[in-house]
Amino acid sequence: MSLEISHLSFAYGRRTRLVLDDVSFSVKEGDLLAVLGPNGVGKSTMFRCILGFLRNYRGSIRLNGLDIKTLDHKEIAKHVAYIPQSTHPVFNYTVLDVVLMGLTNQVRLLGTPNQDHIGEAYAAMESLGIAHLRNAGYSEISGGERQLALIARALVQKAKILIMDEPTANLDYGNQFRVMCRISDLARDGYIIILSTHNPDHAFLYANRTLMIYGGRVIADGTPEGVLDADLIREVYGMDVHIEDYQYGSRRHKLCIPIDGGIGKHE
C-alpha cells in the first residue's frame, strides 16, 4: 500500500491563484501524517484531490502506483476512506446505520446490508468502544462519539488509507485526546493516516510525520520533533511559542507553549 503525491498543483475555476502549488510527498504503511497550516492554505483541497473529488489538478497522485485519475469512486473507496469533521446531520440515522454505510461498496447494487455486514459493523464499533450506542440517534450522541462512529464507518470500508479532515475540530478537550489515541492505535495496526490539525501538540504526541503547508506549498516535511520549531510556527501562525521538552514517566515528547498569551506582546 502506498500513496505518492508529486508536483500537485490546483486552482479553483480559471483563477490564477494556486491553492496548491507543487506539493509532493509520499506515505507508507504505519504512517500517521499530521498536516498543519493556517486556515485556507489548501489542506482540505489537497484531501479532496487525494479522495478523487477534484480531478482537474496538475501533477500526479498515485495509489499503489496507479494514477487515481484512472480510478472511479468505487475503486478509490476500496483503498481510501474519508472521515469528515463530525457535523450535525440532517437525517438522524442510528449509529449502527451510519457505520453500515461504510459497507456500501460491499453491498450488492440493489441490495441492503445482510447479517454478516451487521456483524462487521458491530465488531468495528466494539473495537472503538461505541457498541452500546448502536441504536442511539447519530445526532443525539456527543461530538467525540460521532467522530468515533465515523472512524468505525471508515474501518468497515476496509480501506487502508484514512483521510481525516480535522478529526478533533468541535471536540471538547478530553475527547480530542481520546479520539487521537484511537487514531494512533490504528496507525500502529498498519493503517496509513493523513489528518489535518491546528494543534502542533497533536503532531508531537501522535504523529510520526508532519507536513507544514503554507501558501499552498509544503514548507516543512519530516518528523514533528525535527521540523516543528519556534521559527516555523512564528513564520506560519505569526505567534511566539516556546517548544518544551517534556518527560512524564517513561514518555518523552515536546510541547508547544504560547509565550505571552501567544501574540507576543500585551498592549
Binding site: E75, I76, V90, F91, Y93, T104, I141, A230, Q247, G249
Partner: protein
C-alpha cells in the same frame, strides 16, 4: 529557542507510579439513556400501517352520496371472480367444486345494476387513483428530501407541478379533451424537470444547490406561462376548467387513468425501492457518498428520473395536490426512523392511505365536491406547523 531539540528540561517524575497515559474510549462521555437503546418493533408498526390503509380502502367503497352496505360492496367486488370460477368448466370435479364454492362466492346477485356501476365504474377507479397518487407523491417527496438533504423539499421542487399545470392549461385552452389533458400535463411535468436538470448542469459549485435554484427558476417560468393562458382563456368555460384542474381533484378518475398512471408509477417506484440503501448514503452529501464508492451523478440522475416520472403522472391524472409529498415522509420518519429501507415502503402505504382518506372527505363533507388540493392544504398545514414546533423543541 532557535534549536528546540537541544534545550532539554526533563521534569522530575511526580511521586507514585504515573497513571497510564492511554485513555480508553469507553470514557467518552455519553448519555445513559442512549446506551443499549432498544429497537422499536418496526414490523408490528408496519403491519398496523397496512391494516389502517386497508380499512381506508374498505371505508372508501362504502361512504358517498350513494350508500352501499359493507357486505354488498364486498360481494360486488367478488362477483367477477365468482362469475369466472363458475364459468370455468372443469372436466372431473367441476360441479363439486362449484357447489362447494357457492356459499362463499356471491353467485346470486343481491344488488342492482346501479350499485354495481357505482362500485366498479366510479368508486374503484377513484380509490385506485387516490391510492396511486398518494403513494407516488409521498415516495417522490421522501426521495427528493433525502437527495437534497433537506426535509422541507416537496416532490415538485424541480418544477414538475408547474410544468404539468402549464401542460394541462394548454390542453384545456385548445379544447383537446380529457385524455389529452393528462398527456399534456405529464409531458409538461417532464419538460419542466428536464429543463431544470439541464440548467443545473451548467451551474458551477454545489450541484444540489444548483438544482434547487434551477427548479425554482423553471417553476416560476411555467407558473407565469399558466397565468398567461388563464388571462387569454375564455372566461366562460376554459378559465373555470383550468382553475378547477389546478386545485386538484379525482372526481373524473377513470379506469384508463388508473391503467396509465398505475403502470408508470410502478415503473418509477421499483427503482426507488431497490436503491433504498444507496439513498441512505446519498443523504450524507456529495463528498461522503463518493468517498464510500457511490457514483453520485448516476444515482442522483436515477432518483430524479424516477421521482419525476411518478410525480408527473400523479399530477397529470389528479391536478395539483400539495402537502402530501411534504408531510407524509415526515410522518414516516417519526414512526419508522430515518432509514430509507423502511421509509420508502412506509411512504407508499401511508401516502396512499392518507390521500384516500382525504378524498373520502372531499366527496362527502359538502354537497359539491371540494377540490383535493384545498383539503390537503387544510389538513397538511396544521400538521406541518405542529411538526416544525416539535422539531424545534428537540434540537
Amino acid at each position: 529557542m532557535a534549536d528546540a531539540g537541544s534545550t532539554r528540561s526533563p521534569h522530575t517524575e511526580p511521586a507514585g507510579t504515573p497513571p497510564e497515559v492511554r485513555l480508553h474510549t469507553a470514557d467518552v462521555t455519553s448519555t445513559p439513556s442512549l446506551s443499549d437503546r432498544e429497537v422499536p418493533d418496526y414490523r408490528l408498526r408496519f403491519i398496523l400501517l397496512v391494516l389502517a390503509a386497508a380499512s381506508c380502502v374498505i371505508v372508501s367503497f362504502i361512504v358517498g352520496r350513494f350508500s352501499i352496505g359493507i357486505s354488498d360492496a364486498v360481494l360486488i367486488l367478488l362477483s367477477p371472480i365468482a362469475h369466472f370460477v363458475m364459468s370455468v368448466d372443469l372436466p372431473i370435479l367441476g360441479d363439486i367444486i362449484h357447489i362447494l364454492l357457492s356459499p362463499i362466492l356471491p353467485v346470486m346477485e343481491t344488488w342492482d345494476d346501479a350499485m354495481y356501476s357505482v362500485v366498479f365504474n366510479i368508486r374503484l377507479p377513484r380509490i385506485l387513483a387516490a391510492f396511486l397518487v398518494g403513494a407516488a407523491l409521498s415516495t417522490a417527496g421522501a426521495a427528493y428530501q433525502g437527495m437534497f438533504q433537506n426535509p422541507l423539499v416537496s416532490p415538485d421542487i424541480l418544477g414538475a407541478s408547474a410544468g404539468a399545470g402549464f401542460g394541462a392549461a394548454l390542453a384545456i385552452y385548445f379544447y383537446l379533451g380529457t385524455g389529452a389533458i393528462t398527456i399534456f400535463a405529464f409531458a409538461g411535468g417532464l419538460v419542466a424537470v428536464g429543463t431544470a436538470y439541464a440548467v443545473s448542469r451548467l451551474t458551477r459549485g454545489n450541484p444540489t444547490l444548483g438544482m434547487v435554484l434551477a427548479g425554482i427558476l423553471v417553476g416560476s417560468l411555467f407558473s407565469a406561462s399558466t397565468s398567461y393562458i388563464k388571462l387569454v382563456a375564455d372566461t366562460n368555460d376554459q378559465l373555470p376548467a383550468i382553475t378547477y384542474w389546478l386545485m386538484g381533484s379525482l372526481a373524473g378518475a377513470t379506469m384508463e387513468d388508473v391503467y396509465f398512471a398505475g403502470v408508470v408509477i410502478i415503473i418509477g417506484l421499483i427503482p426507488l425501492y431497490l436503491l433504498r440503501w444507496r439513498m441512505n448514503v446519498l443523504t450524507l452529501g456529495e463528498d461522503e457518498a463518493k468517498s464510500m464508492g457511490i457514483n453520485t451523478h448516476l444515482l442522483r440522475l436515477i432518483v430524479i428520473l424516477c421521482a419525476t416520472l411518478v410525480t408527473a403522472v400523479a399530477v397529470s391524472i389528479s391536478g395539483i395536490i400539495g402537502w402530501v409529498g411534504l408531510v407524509i415522509p415526515h410522518f414516516c420518519r417519526m414512526i419508522f426512523g430515518y432509514d430509507y429501507r423502511r421509509v420508502i415502503p412506509a411512504a407508499v402505504i401511508m401516502g396512499g392511505g392518507f390521500l384516500l382518506l382525504v378524498d373520502d372527505f372531499a366527496r362527502t363533507i359538502a354537497t359539491t365536491e371540494v377540490p383535493l388540493g384545498i383539503l390537503t392544504s387544510f389538513v397538511g398545514a396544521p400538521i406541518f406547523a405542529y411538526l416544525l414546533m416539535m422539531g424545534g423543541r428537540r434540537s
